[in-house]
Amino acid sequence: MDIITGLWNGFAVALAPINLWWCFVGVFLGTIVGIMPGLGPPATIAMLLPLTFQMAPASAMIMLSGIYYGAKYGGSTTSILLNVPGESASVVTCLDGYQMARKGRAGAALGIAAIASFIAGTVGVLGLMLVAPPLAKFALSFSSPEYFALMVLGLAMVVLLAGRSMIKALLAMLVGLWIATMGTDLFSSTSRFTFGNMEMLDGIDFVVVAIGIFALGEVFCNMETRESAQVLPVPKGLRNLLPTMQDLKDCRFAFINGSVVGFITGVLPGAGSTIASFISYGIEKAVSKRRELFGTGVIEGVAAPEGANNSETGGALVPLLTLGIPGSGTTAILLAALVLWGFKPGPLLIQEHPDLFWGLVASMYIGNVMLLVLNLPLVPVFAQLLRLPVHILYPLIFGISIVGVYTVSSSLFDLSMLMAFGLLGYLMRKLDYPAAPMVLGLVLGDAMERALRQSLMMSQGDLTILVARPISAVMLVIAVLVLLVPVFGSLNRLRLQAIESED
């Protein structure tokens, strides 16, 4: 009942012409920001913040949030077209998205990314609206042992991301974990693997590694093959550029998976959209009937992580709006914005400012529709990009990678790192080491080490804390099961072989 009146009033706020306008401005800016690698929502929101002081707070919140979730729609564009992950959460999208583009299905990949974003984004708002307060309480019961188990579960996905050789995948993952340890240790303030560089005190930026390995590695590899002049295939006709009915059917589970995983991960202050995208991809692959085709351009491999990335937004707003706790960089800035507008973000925010909360929720339903309408027509436009001849396309990728990294930190050191990781990416391709496990190790390593050490500090060194708590125990069991997937797979193959040989 409360929800219906709340939402009714919320739509009254969100449908006011001025708020519709700001919602559009937000999602439009968000789309642009998302497409451009490097410039992320936190920086954009921080820079626009001073301009919002003249606006009504509800309008301002609607616009800034629009940038937040709008950016997630655009994030997949460069991943799919150019293998340049624009932000950490769209790294997974590269795996199958770029392969689809190479097979002439860029349009379908971009289209399904938009559709998955829309569905999961809407589910995320539904979640925010329906279960925010109880879920926020649940999220508080999550502590370091649970986070550790979650990261182990994420890391177990490595068996699903491995290419032909499990050993090579594990090696790549170990390198990722090693890179994650670089920089200043939070617990002791000791420098690790900084090699005397002050730039290394913060460790290596994830985006630098991802863009280097994926985008530059690809460019270097293609520079070598001389039979270049070949243009990537782009089918003619609008109909062939959008996902087919079969595609949508293939993605039915991915939509649900992405929505649920993304939302739950978003609610947890210590997780985030990158982890959400990896986990949903892993789940998608684990349950898929065509598991072996993942990484070669299957459409659900795009839909699941893109969905998760978008529904994470709704989730991340839960602790922000119900408890005043920011779980990510962007929500931290939104929190600062709320303070600047004179609100007191905290447990009483929704109760005392229902208009703000419900207006935002309603605007997010509207904004997601706007984004779908805005993004689907862009698909054929962007797909044309691949018609560019290779001698233009690859320098373009090269340039976008450099600009993307430089806008994050304006640091030449990061650019040299980018080149180094580009070379590493090239070598890994040559020697057939998969890149995804390395990136996975890098994403999870830091958080996993932290969670483990926090847990052990809490228990005064007693390891049983990791399995004595029900949620963490369940997740660790699932992780073990995931690790056993390849074993089952090969057992099954043996069984089939046995049956065949009997025949």
């Binding site: 936190p42 920086a43 929101i45 921080a46 820079m47 913040l49 001073p50 999220a139 508080l140 019961s141 999550f142 502590s143 370091s144 200043t184 939070l186 617990f187 002791s188 303030s189 000791t190 420098s191 900084t194 005397g196 560089n197 002050m198 730039e199 290394m200 005190l201 913060d202 202050p269 210590g270 602790p319 408890l323 005043g324 706790i325 920011p326 779980g327 960089g329 929500t331 931290a332 800035i333 600062a336 303070v339 007191k344 973000p345 905290g346 447990p347 009483l348 925010l349 930190s409 304006s410 640091s411 050191f413 932290r450 926090q454 500090m457 809490m458 005064q460």
Partner: protein, 326 residues
């Protein structure tokens, strides 16, 4: 224009004594001034710098635009090194925080301390409060300390890195009382609060503004405040000293520095600007809105503060078992 160029040239050449007539005119910036911060857009230092820049522009204290430049990396040392490289540059200033002071103490890679830069003004001292969950058995600071004494190492505090103020407060309290509790680092403020509200840790040092809402909602209780005088929003909460724990008040400090080797006119100009600035009503309201303490000091006093603070920190960190390198 020409005068500025002349001074610039003199500054680079390291000539301090300039002919008097030029000085009489006073120096004024003629092109946009770069304001260097070590956090990305939206980070604490960036937010303060942008707010101060817009307030200074609104009060027309500086004739040119102040442009915030984000030099992130190295826990602040990239920004500090950037300023150090700009030796003698009159069109650059920077906003420092406590991490510019502590980081060089623990990381050999961070070579630039505030001593290597020109101190201009200290602006802000950020107070903090010590909070527990509202259903915790501790009603006063004494309750907590006594409980920690009874079962050493079992109570837990959530906080930032080991060099952060949160841990420094713990070290000081542990040393003066003999009590002992665990300190668990979390990288983000949200995670620290979640750990307290979820009952996974027993206590935390938190910014007054953040604590305020949780207290109003009945989920947190404040035991003591870390400030030089009682905050307006917590009139009934004792200072640590009043609660019976006479430990040094460790300030969370923010202020302004300039590159090394700038001419005296230039330093005088910036000192003058900030001296006027801290008296404006806009700034006073900003301090109050954010529950900051006015920490104004001029460049010379700030330099003295830097020395005492660094010496004090270095002792505390050594006690905490952190390897101090300078």
């Amino acid at each position: 224009m020409r005068i500025a160029t002349l001074i610039l040239a003199a500054g680079i050449a390291g000539v301090v004594a300039l002919p008097a007539p030029v000085v009489a005119q006073g120096w004024k910036p003629t092109r946009p001034v770069e304001v260097v911060v070590h956090t990305g857009p939206g980070g604490g230092s960036d937010t303060l710098a942008r707010a101060v820049a817009s307030m200074i522009e609104k009060e027309k204290l500086v004739p040119v635009r102040l442009q915030v430049v984000n030099k992130t990396g190295g826990n602040g040392s990239v920004a500090a090194a950037y300023l150090a490289e700009k030796k003698g540059d009159v069109n650059t200033i920077g906003f420092f925080t406590g991490v510019w002071l502590t980081n060089p103490l623990v990381a050999t890679e961070a070579k630039v301390t505030l001593r290597e830069l020109t101190t201009v003004a200290r602006l802000v001292l950020e107070p903090a409060v010590i909070a527990v969950k509202s259903d915790a058995p501790f009603k006063t600071m004494k309750d907590f300390i006594e409980a920690a004494k009874k079962a050493p190492g079992t109570l837990k505090q959530s906080g930032g890195s080991i060099t952060s103020r949160d841990n420094v407060v713990r070290q000081l309290l542990q040393k003066s009382t003999g009590a002992q509790w665990a300190y668990i680092s979390f990288p983000g403020g949200g995670e620290r609060i979640s750990a307290l509200l979820g009952g996974h840790v027993n206590m935390m040092v938190i910014e007054p503004q953040e604590a305020g809402e949780h207290i109003r909602a009945g989920s947190m209780r404040v035991l003591a405040q870390i400030a030089s005088k009682r905050l307006l929003s917590f009139p009934n909460v004792p200072l640590l000293k009043e609660a019976g724990y006479d430990v040094p008040v460790v300030p969370q400090v923010r202020g302004v520095v300039a590159p090394p080797g700038i001419p005296k006119e230039n330093l005088d100009y910036w000192e003058g600007v900030f001296q006027k600035f801290v008296q404006t009503a806009t700034w006073k309201k900003y301090l109050e809105d954010n529950q900051f303490e006015d920490g104004y000091q001029n460049g010379a006093d700030l330099l003295k503060f830097v020395d005492t603070f660094s010496a004090q920190m270095s002792e505390i960190l050594k006690d905490a078992g952190v390897k101090v390198v300078r």
